[in-house]
């Protein structure tokens, strides 16, 4: 029991925050948002996976990755490849010159399904690919960088470059990847229509539950000795090394874990939105993910979710009226947060939140006095 309380929830304060978030996304959103807005919320929550990964990586580990879009994208593409193959059955694609392969391959004069697409006919393989491929890729990047002690700005730039390379690769290899348009026209999951409203609602709830599970798993990591070592590495890397730790292994692990949860977000994105494209892989989405975490509070797993929701709803509302100004606004907001509120929304809540709860405490006080009065009255009546 104490394991659940301390490790999964992070004690009383963590539990309150967790319950409020769970109530918001599992009860309040579905009750008060129409199906269009709920769909948007679900999409935004998939970005929150990446924002949570950045809390671990950047907030605690001090490793700024400007390439979480890579892993979000890999997870999303893995899922999209499976759905695309299912949508490209020979019956559905009978008008193509080669029926049974995805339409964009046919347009690019490819006559045979490429070898790396083959295993994605299996749903089990796809799920494993979502969980393992991005983490394995992160392991390669991490081992190459951290074992050579590449860190800080250099690491950030390299992750950004990898994001660019991956985007260029996807766009350039149109016949294998669907190019700039991405993989579109996804219809069914094991025969179940994913474009229907009911399917979208189901995916919304799955996303919420997965996100809450990811937060709990991250909390277990952060409350263990590993979490304190991560903070120690951020503050004084040399001291950790000269205390007998192989620092690179710790960084590699958290980078792989972050990649895995970002990829889960990407896969859920594909399922909810019904397509995947390179515009969710490159520089802009990767940097936006960092902004979500920064605005929410880079030391707060739950704050990162609020940051993501706030920025994205803001983006939708604002860019409907002034699309050109949005990038300037978000850039300005990022600078303001970094300079004025380095701990983001979570920091503001910690600093001023108790004043709000104090205001409401009169209710409990009144309740207590009322209870005391009734008790007193009962005692007097008894006399």
């Amino acid at each position: 029991m104490s394991f659940v309380y301390e490790k999964l929830m992070g004690g009383k304060k963590g539990l309150t925050g967790f319950i409020i978030l769970a109530t918001l996304i599992l009860v309040i959103f579905p009750l008060f948002l129409d199906s269009f807005r709920l769909g948007l919320a679900g999409k935004y929550l998939t970005y929150a996976f990446a924002a949570v990964s950045l809390v671990l990586l950047w907030g605690y580990g001090g490793i700024l990755s400007l390439g979480q879009g890579i892993f979000f994208g890999l997870g999303g593409y893995a899922m999209a490849m499976f759905l695309k193959l299912e949508a490209s059955s020979p019956e559905n694609t009978s008008i193509q010159s080669t029926p049974g392969i995805p339409d964009f391959m046919d347009w690019n004069q490819i006559t045979e399904l490429p070898w790396f697409w083959e295993p994605f006919t299996s749903f089990t393989f796809t799920i494993l690919a979502v969980l393992i491929l991005p983490a394995a890729f992160a392991y390669i990047i991490g081992a190459a960088m951290f074992k050579r002690r590449v860190g800080g700005v250099y690491f950030a730039i390299i992750t950004q470059v990898i994001a660019v390379i991956l985007t260029v690769l996807i766009v350039g290899q149109q016949g294998f990847t669907g190019g700039i348009n991405g993989i579109t026209d996804l219809r069914t999951l094991n025969g179940w229509d994913i474009t229907s409203d009911s399917a979208k609602t189901v995916f919304y709830f799955i996303t919420c539950v997965l996100l809450l599970l990811v937060i709990m798993a991250s909390r277990v990591i952060l409350t263990s000795k590993f979490g304190r070592i991560l903070l120690a590495v951020r503050d004084k890397e040399d001291r950790v090394r000269f205390s007998g730790y192989d620092v690179a292994n710790f960084k590699i692990f958290v980078f792989c874990f972050g990649a895995m949860i970002s990829a889960i977000g990407g896969a859920m994105f594909t399922l909810q939105v019904g397509f995947m494209s390179p515009s969710f892989v490159g520089i802009v989405p990767s940097i936006e993910m960092v902004i979500f975490a920064a605005v929410g509070g880079r030391m707060s797993l739950i704050g990162a979710v609020y940051g993501t929701l706030l920025i994205n709803f803001g983006k939708t509302a604002f860019s409907e009226s002034f699309p050109e100004l949005w990038l300037f606004l978000i850039g300005g907001l990022f600078i303001a947060v970094v300079m004025l509120f380095p701990n983001g929304l979570a920091g503001l809540w910690n600093d001023y939140g108790h004043k709000l709860t104090d205001k409401f405490s009169f209710i409990t006080k009144r309740f207590n006095t009322l209870a005391a009065q009734t008790k007193l009255k009962k005692v007097e009546d008894a006399r």
Binding site: V220, I221, S224, K225, F226, R228, I229, L231, A232, D235, K236, D238, R239, V240, R241, F242, S243, G244, Y245, D246, V247, N249, F250, F253
Partner: protein
């Protein structure tokens, strides 16, 4: 001298490191006995800190050998050297300012040093007892739950010493442990060093001659990467070469 097996805790032979042709340490030979508290002094740029860097693996030697309890250390990675039993304190207090004193000591506790070990690590009774024992030794028992960034400069130095002690190293290396300390703190630190040198070898770099006189059993003077003089405090202080390059000015 037999170079294969010795009774020394540390034996450094013909150690040389050159940075772009400049020899910061030049064919150094140095031996440290078991249970010996040895102080290295010398003017700025003499190569004192470089020697510590070489021993703990922060800097790689150009040539020569460093043997710790007859194990060759050159070529080992930093964490392997620490695990072999060598602890090193840095010149400026190097602690985790965002963690409490207790957490600082816990992170330094020599268990759960792997990724999965640290995920499974439990703050058991045994660990807490050891932390309390060390905290008492470094005079920080009342500060265990305090964020270590809020400690005074002297307390930070002690905390870092404690973080090494909890690993129970056979060789403890301290780089200017009393820099920036008040007179009273210096006295307490001298007492602490005399206490912790029981049962292990301690190598200290220090500038403060009064402090050196108080703790040192043996003193070595380093100058331009070479040993200028070595012996007990009196011998060294009266050595004309030492007076000329170091003490005289």
């Amino acid at each position: 001298m037999n170079t294969t097996n010795t009774n020394f805790t540390l034996s450094i032979e013909d150690l040389t490191v050159s940075f772009d042709g400049f020899k910061a340490v030049d064919k150094l030979n140095f031996y440290l006995d078991k249970n010996e508290l040895h102080v290295v002094i010398g003017p700025n740029g003499a190569g004192k800190t470089t020697v510590l860097d070489l021993i703990c693996g922060k800097t790689k030697a150009t040539s020569g050998s460093i043997k710790f309890l007859n194990h060759e250390l050159t070529g080992l990675s930093e964490h392997a050297i620490v695990r072999a039993g060598v602890g090193r304190k840095f010149q400026t207090p190097s602690i985790y300012e965002n963690l409490t004193v207790l957490e600082n000591l816990e992170v330094s506790y020599p268990e759960g040093r792997g990724v999965f070990g640290s995920l499974m690590f439990k703050r058991s009774e045994k660990v807490l007892n050891k932390i309390h024992e060390i905290a008492k030794e470094i005079m920080l028992e009342d500060e265990l739950d305090r964020e270590s960034g809020l400690l005074s400069h002297g307390q930070k130095q002690w905390l870092e010493i404690g973080m090494l002690l909890i690993q129970d190293p056979q060789l403890l290396m301290l780089d200017e442990p009393v820099a920036g300390m008040s007179v009273k703190e210096r006295e307490q630190t001298a007492e602490l060093l005399n206490k912790i040198s029981q049962g292990r070898s301690v190598l200290v770099i220090e500038h403060d001659m009064e402090f050196v006189a108080r703790i040192a059993q043996k003193v070595t003077v380093l100058h331009q990467g070479k040993i200028l003089a070595s012996g007990d405090m009196d011998t060294v202080q009266n050595d004309p070469k030492v007076i000329e390059v170091y003490l005289g000015h």
